[in-house]
Every structure is written in structure tokens, then in C-alpha cells.
Symmetry: C2
Subunit: 340 residues, 2 copies
């Protein structure tokens, strides 16, 4: 790319010119009609989710490359579909842009988005580009799900096991390492890179859905409760309990964090990142014990049965070795310094 | 509403507080999951369209009440669905808001949106509310259509009649009357109000779809070409011709304008508003002559066969009474002063 091209701004080529440049990232059949047309599988329900991201609020050139901002935006929406049990059909991208934004910045944003989307065979099927005083990214994702396999927050029942599909806290640790590079002083390079990558390139857990379908394929499928942990593991469990009118007990030693944490962070700091860090985009699922065991076995390392659903409305963090007293998790109070 | 409530700002109640206040405008089943679930009719294709609207660019408190901004945003998206032949299933609403925006402003925006949506039985099924330095409204609309009845820009064929579903220019005239009230001096109150209303409360032509379905219900349905006239009547016809690789001849006397225009505007000003004004949200449809005649008869006053599709690529404005010379319509050149 020569310097003239790389310094080109949106106002130099206009919204229509930019649309043409971005068409290579979109499915070809969408171009030139008032709306996109998509085929769906008969008998499946349509699932829709939408997110708005604003420069300086949700992303920033200071900490995030445009590719990573694009990846994270796509991943967050795909994760919302996974959290409903839905397979993605496509996304639309609405962009508000100041005229001064570089065309190359927008292309790199789309590059990151499509890298994530292609991994899950998801096309960009439509969009809109408009002038705005602030860079704004509005993504709507839609997917489909067999109605009997919809995952809802409100479906947890007493006795369910709580499965967490992967470790928590990595994304938050990665963000801290980006903001405060000096924290990496006793980490190996590969460890540091892995945590930062967890923050920059989170993986939506759409891969869990076929496993879930396989293990729950009984004559009368049980409704599975769940959501993603985008706002933190504690938030996910509390939201599920609220929606289902139940409580939960979490086992302290089953709140799994990246192995790196063990030598690097004090235990209560590690736990804080895991419970409240957010943006790990794992799934938190509530299902009968035998299905939960089968699921964890199939998911492999990082997945765990983190606790169980109880009567009442309390979400309790419990140490089975009784080194630490029980602690009630409560979002409005935030994290309480643990065990000391 | 007491003065304390009416002066409440978004930052006083936060995004979560605002979400609660807006839930009465949304379908109840969407609350509390990561995404909304919608039922579709088996065998129908999914149609998706998205629009981003930015304060100061696409709407402004100076010329548009929040109710009208909401109505117009909903209408524009429903019109895009109508332009594809699709019946609406629902919309998602992404909102970016400065903390200083009044809660009552947001409620009035939603009031206007839902007034329009309810007319077409369309629910708000999901959304996102975030902080932003500028008020931004991102709407994605979903609809469904029988695959054989999809209306595409690219399906026009030589010999097709061009049906315009209603008069053009009213919305632009209404905007001019809002910006320059003195222009109304020789209009009756009811005439002025009707033009302003056409601008503030445009009607998406979803009502055309069942008529189209009825008249085209032959054993082998013809593909119908078309789009909406949101960017102007001339734009719609030129876009259809470009996408279909054809030309068109428009009859000057069949470009219908509101009757009010006859005494109020010079003919070339009236024609300019009709061809280039935009935001009338009528449909421009290309179909065989006999179907076109049946359609116009069913649609009633305001609808007309405005011309026909020809070989070549020229879009010609023609006066059958030969008072005026033929004129080639071309978007890049814009409107040429007509006939004098």
C-alpha cells in the first residue's frame, strides 16, 4: 500500500466509495437490493441479537487495533447466539464514521470481523455506512435453533449441575497486561501473549452446541438453562438464578483460572478476575448431573462442573476444604475481598 | 408528568434504568435472554435490512419531534422490507445516547416508533442501549417472503410497465414548509398540514403486498422487479434499470404529484420535488402490462403506470404532448431545469 492510499480518509471517497471497498468482505448476493435475503431451515426458530459499540466507550485505538475491535465485536454477537443454542446465519453491520477516519482503519476493522466470522462460516449480509461525529459500530446477528434446543436463562431447576465451558479471568488479565506492561515481569513471553490474545481474540463457544446436541439427544430432551459469561462468571450465574427463581452453590476450587495465574497472582486476585473480569465469552449451562458430566468430559481441559442449582435465591461461593468461609455473591455489592 | 420527571436525564437512571422504562414498548418474551427468539413460516426466506441514523445528520430536534424521528426510522426500515416483497417479523433497536439526553425524549422516540410499527403488527424484539457522545439510532428489520415472490431490482425486462404506487414530492414539500413556513402563504391549512404530515409520518407500502400477491397468482408467477422510492423516484428507476441492464421511458404526465402542487408550485419545481425529493416511501414496480393495469386499478388514486422498460440503458423523460423535449435522467448530473 503506498502512502497516498494508506492516508486516504473516509471523506475522500464518501460513503458510497467506502461501501464499494468493503464489498469484498460481504456476501456477493446482498449487493444491490433494499435488503438481504437468507435461507432458513424449516421448523427452526429465528434468533436475533444486537450490540452497539462506540469509540472511546467500548473500544479505543489506544488499547485495541481495528482488527481486534472487529474480531471482538463479531465474537460478542456470535457468543450471544451460542448462549441461546443458535447457529449463526449472518450479521449486519451498521457503521457511523467521522470523515477523518482512515479508509485503511475501516478495512482493518472489517478484516478482523471477517476473520472471526469465517471461522464460524458466518457471512456479513448487509449494512449501512453513515457520517457521524463518533465512530460507532452496530452489529445485529441472527441465527437459528431447533425450538426444543433453545437455551434460556429461566430454565434452571434445583439439582442441576452448573457447567462452565472454560477457564475464566484470562481476558481481564490480558487487558491488565496491555494497560500495565510492567505486570508481565515474572511471566514467560508465551504466557503473556496467551493472556493478551484471550482478551484480543475471544472465541465464541459455538463449538459447544453440537456436543450439547449429541449428549442431550434423549427421546424427551430436557430444557437446558444458560447464558454466556461476557459480563463475568458471577454475573452469568446470578442472572440465571434470578431468571429461574433459584439459588446456587459454587465450589471455590472449581472456579477454574488459567494455569498461569497460580504463580503470578494472589489467589483472591485470580478469583476476582475469574468471577468479575468479564469478556471470556464462555458458556454457563445448567443441566442434569449425568448430562453435565458427559458434557465436561467431551469439552476437555478448562471445562468444569462449577457448582449446582439450589432452592432459594442465594448464590453462595463455598470452599469444600473449609479454609475460607462461605461468601454470598451479589452484583450490587460487587466482589468482597475473599477469605482473609 | 411532573417537572422533576420530565427533566430526568439518561445519566440519572443509567442504561439499565432506561431499559426498564422502555420495556413497555417491546414484546414481553424478549426480556432476560441473550437474544430474541422469533417464529418464522416454513419455506419462507428471511429478509434483513439495517439503517443507522445520527443526530444532526439524519434527524434534528430543530425540525423533527422525537415521535416523528421514531416513526420515520421505523417506516424507512419497513419500507425496505416492502420493497423486497417481505412481511415484517420484527425490528431490533440499538441506541447510543449522551448522558444529558432527557429520558422523556427517548420515551417519545419509542412512542413514535411503536405507533408506526403497531400499524403493521411489528414488534420491537431486541435492542441495546449504550453511552455515546452523539444520539445514534441503529435499526435492523426482519421480514419473511415466499422465495417466488421476492421483489428484486435486477428483475426488470424490456416491455414491463413501471408502476408507481402513489404521488411523489409530498415529503420534500412538507420539509420545505417546515424549514420555510412563509411558503405556505397561498396554501389552505389542511393542504399545508397534509404535506407536512407526508414528511413527518410517511407510510411504508406494505399494503401493496397482498394486492400484488392476488393479481400475480398465476400458475407460473412472473418475477416482479422493484424497490422503494426513499432516495427519490428518479433514483429508484435508475437503480432498477442499472441492476436489470435495461432502460426506461417515463411519461411526463404520469409522474403524479399531490393535487395541491398544481396551483402552488411552478411545473418544473413540482417535477423536481417528485423526481428528486425523496422519502415518499412509495414502491416502484416493473411488471407485465396487464398485471400493471390490474395493480393500478386496485391501488386507486395516486397510483399510475409511469412508463415502461426499454432496451438500452437510457432513462428518458418524455412528454407525449410534445410540449417539452425529451430529457435523459442521470443521477450524477442531477436534475436539469426542465422544458424551458
Amino acid at each position: 500500500m503506498n502512502s497516498e492510499l494508506s492516508s486516504q480518509q473516509v471523506k475522500d471517497i464518501g460513503e458510497q466509495g467506502l461501501l464499494k471497498r468493503l464489498q469484498r468482505f460481504c456476501t456477493s448476493e446482498i449487493i444491490g437490493d433494499d435488503a438481504a435475503v437468507l435461507e432458513t431451515v424449516p421448523g427452526q426458530s429465528l434468533v436475533v441479537t444486537t450490540d452497539v459499540l462506540v469509540d472511546g466507550v467500548h473500544f479505543s485505538n489506544l488499547t485495541t487495533s481495528p482488527e481486534d475491535a472487529g474480531w471482538r465485536a463479531a465474537a460478542a454477537n456470535l457468543s450471544d447466539l451460542a448462549a441461546m443454542g443458535a447457529s449463526p446465519l449472518g450479521i449486519t453491520v451498521g457503521l457511523g464514521l467521522p470523515g477523518e477516519v482512515k479508509v485503511s482503519w475501516v478495512e482493518r476493522l472489517y478484516q478482523g470481523m471477517t476473520e472471526c466470522l469465517q471461522k464460524y462460516n458466518t457471512p456479513i449480509v448487509g449494512g449501512d455506512i453513515v457520517r457521524s461525529p463518533v465512530t460507532t459500530l452496530a452489529i445485529t446477528a441472527f441465527g437459528q435453533v431447533n425450538p426444543s434446543q433453545i437455551i434460556r436463562r429461566s430454565a434452571a431447576v434445583v439439582g442441576d449441575a452448573i457447567v462452565v465451558t472454560g477457564v475464566h479471568g484470562a481476558s481481564r488479565a490480558g487487558l491488565e497486561l496491555l494497560l500495565h506492561p510492567e505486570l508481565a515481569h515474572n511471566l514467560k513471553d508465551a504466557e503473556r501473549t496467551a493472556l493478551i490474545r484471550a482478551h484480543q481474540r475471544p472465541q465464541p463457544r459455538l463449538d459447544v452446541l453440537p456436543i450439547l446436541k449429541k449428549i442431550s439427544a434423549s427421546p424427551c430432551p430436557m430444557p437446558i438453562a444458560g447464558m454466556d459469561s461476557s459480563d463475568g462468571l458471577a454475573d452469568a450465574i446470578i442472572q440465571i438464578c434470578r431468571a429461574s427463581g433459584v439459588g446456587a452453590v459454587l465450589e471455590y476450587r472449581q472456579i477454574l483460572v488459567p494455569k498461569t495465574f497460580n504463580q503470578w497472582l494472589p489467589p483472591d486476585q485470580a478469583l476476582k478476575y475469574a468471577l468479575y473480569g468479564g469478556e471470556d465469552f464462555e458458556l454457563v449451562l445448567c443441566l442434569p448431573q449425568e448430562l453435565a458430566s458427559a458434557l465436561v468430559q467431551q469439552l476437555g481441559e478448562g471445562a468444569a462442573i462449577a457448582g449446582k442449582i439450589t432452592a432459594g435465591s442465594t448464590v453462595l461461593l463455598h470452599d469444600e476444604q473449609k479454609k475460607f468461609p462461605d461468601q454470598v455473591l451479589n452484583l450490587s455489592q460487587g466482589f468482597q475481598h475473599f477469605g482473609q
